[in-house]
């Protein structure tokens, strides 16, 4: 299995866009229960635009690709997920820079930078019941498994994201709209943690498909 390159980045974004489109209703439904019923719509709109922009962009280094995705998300999504996922990709971009391919370690550092960006932007910490609770364990699992190579590291990350999402489902939310519900949010999965889980599954599968 090779490094993470432009083709992998394209497949990743494209796979994620497909799955968001397929699961648009499910994500919106989760957001109905604890929020404003738009998360699936927002993510679908943003990533279908990002995929189209990437296609327009053609060949480019990883940083430029990630920046294109991040800027597109910020300009098309709105809501909480626009700046958060936008920041995620902009930080990936800064970290990956002009590289055409990233090693497992470099990808891990970029994901870590992305996590930091999301936390700075949204000020959520662990157990606030947000996408951070899928993202943070995913990044840590990736780091822990990165010695085994990119495939296993991404598999571990995806699994950790899903586990994080499950883990926080019983909690009360402290950030995002679900926080308005108080105890009524208990037992409802977080929409953003769900889409972040799909993100890591898409990343895993995009790389594995190589």
């Amino acid at each position: 299995m090779s490094d993470f390159d432009g083709a992998a980045m394209s497949r990743f974004v494209s796979t994620f866009a497909d799955r968001l489109h397929e699961r648009r209703e499910e994500l919106t439904q989760l957001d109905s229960a604890v929020g404003d019923a738009d998360h699936g719509i927002n993510m679908d709109r943003g990533f279908s635009a990002a995929r189209a922009k990437l296609a327009e962009l053609g060949e480019a280094d990883l940083g430029t690709m990630a920046k294109t995705v991040g800027m597109t998300l910020i300009s098309t999504v709105g809501g909480a997920s626009g700046p958060l996922y936008g920041t995620f990709f902009l930080r990936l971009s800064t970290s990956l820079g002009e590289r055409d391919a990233a090693s497992t370690g470099e990808l891990g550092a970029a994901l870590r930078a992305a996590l930091d960006g999301v936390q700075q932007r949204g000020k959520a910490i662990a157990d606030d019941k947000t996408m951070v609770d899928a993202l943070l364990p995913a990044v840590e699992a990736f780091d822990a498994a990165s010695g085994d190579g990119i495939g296993p590291a991404l598999a571990a990350a995806a699994q950790a994201a899903a586990a994080g999402r499950e883990r926080i489902t019983p909690l009360v939310a402290r950030k995002g709209r679900a926080s308005y519900l108080g105890e009524r949010a208990m037992g409802h999965p977080d929409p953003g943690a769900t889409s972040t889980t799909i993100l890591f599954e898409s990343l895993r599968d995009a790389v594995a498909a190589d």
Binding site: I41, T76, A80, G82, P83, K175, G176, S179
Partner: protein, 332 residues
């Protein structure tokens, strides 16, 4: 889903086109979906902009015009607008005296406005922001997303808009917006859910004998589901937390605002106002000004919200100042 729309994708664009068709004397729409006052920018006047998801009409586009907003940024339905919009709005209304962003306190709105403010400042425009967070249904806490911005936003936009129109500078209008925010409290309830067009079905289901107390304006469920009650009891349930939290009491002058959520007719709002007036009178609170109608809505949701603002002389004078927008108009 029963709505007067053509397609779920076209809702916002067609409604904006309709607004421009109806109110071309007051406003225009520029790319990327920004409602701008017809005569903006006005040299030397502080620009006042706001924005948020669509679905709350007339807020905010209906408040663009003389004496209120210089621009409004409508996002997708219930989705905060993107920074490109606030940046374009800021540039379009900047008359050299800086621009105030009035932001409702939702994570998405705050982050997107923040990004826009950073970009505008990078382009040399002075920008300040005031975040409105008046919904007492939500606990006020530093460790959470905090209170939502609801009905108080309408009052802030009117009062601050009048101050800017009168030539107050950026620091003064910013301080004034903050003063409105510090003195305003709101709470809302729903008899029915609304349906986000793109989602196609009601955000929540309510039984024929149930209501949600403590809802926001995005179809989000409230703090609590209760058995349906009469208008007086509902009014008490909303007024209690407002009065307590805001410390409203004898001798205060207030502006009382009874707002419909979109699907509730005016006759019912007056029944609620009747009780609000009685409760204020009992407590020695003088309703110096009032507003009754559907000004910050949640699509076709049935229900209402109540807002009380503790007035001082300046706020009262600015409330009375002429305003000419599609949704609020007097003295002009």
């Amino acid at each position: 889903m029963k709505k007067l729309i053509n397609s779920t994708d076209a809702v916002v664009d067609e409604a904006l086109a309709g607004m421009v068709a109806a109110h071309g004397d007051l406003l225009r729409v520029i790319e990327p979906n920004v409602v701008v006052r017809a005569d903006a920018p006005r040299q030397g006047k502080v620009g006042i902009i706001s924005g948020g998801g669509s679905g709350h009409e007339p807020m905010h586009g209906g408040f663009v015009g003389m004496g209120m907003l210089d621009a409004a940024c409508p996002g997708a339905v219930f989705t905060s607008p993107v920074p490109d919009q606030m940046l374009a709005a800021t540039k379009a209304v900047d008359g050299g005296a800086g621009v105030l962003h009035i932001v409702k306190n939702y994570t998405g709105d705050v982050m997107n406005f923040e990004l826009a403010a950073e970009l505008a400042q990078a382009e040399g425009i002075e920008v300040t922001s005031v975040v409105i967070a008046d919904d007492v249904a939500v606990k006020d806490s530093l460790y959470t997303a905090g209170r939502r911005g609801v009905g108080g936003t309408v009052l802030a936009e009117k009062i601050v808009g009048a101050a800017a129109e009168a030539g107050q500078d950026l620091a003064a209008v910013t301080a004034l917006a903050q003063r409105v925010q510090d003195n305003v409290r709101s709470m809302g309830m729903a008899l029915t859910s609304c349906t986000v067009p793109a989602a196609g079905k009601p955000t929540f289901e309510l039984g024929e004998d149930e209501m949600e107390i403590g809802i926001g304006i995005h179809g989000e469920p409230g703090r609590e589901r209760r058995k349906l009650a009469g208008a007086d009891e509902i009014t008490e349930a909303l007024m209690g937390p407002i009065l307590d939290d805001g410390g409203f009491g004898s001798g205060d002058d207030v502006l009382a605002f009874v707002n419909g959520m979109g699907g509730t007719p005016l006759i019912e709002l007056y029944i609620v106002y009747n009780k609000v007036a009685a409760m204020c009178a009992e407590r020695g609170i003088a309703i110096a000004r009032n507003l009754v109608g559907s000004y910050i809505t949640s699509l076709e949701m049935a229900g209402c919200s109540i807002t009380l603002l503790k007035l001082d002389d300046e706020m009262t004078r600015l409330w009375d100042a002429p305003v000419h927008t599609p949704a609020l108009r007097w003295g002009a």
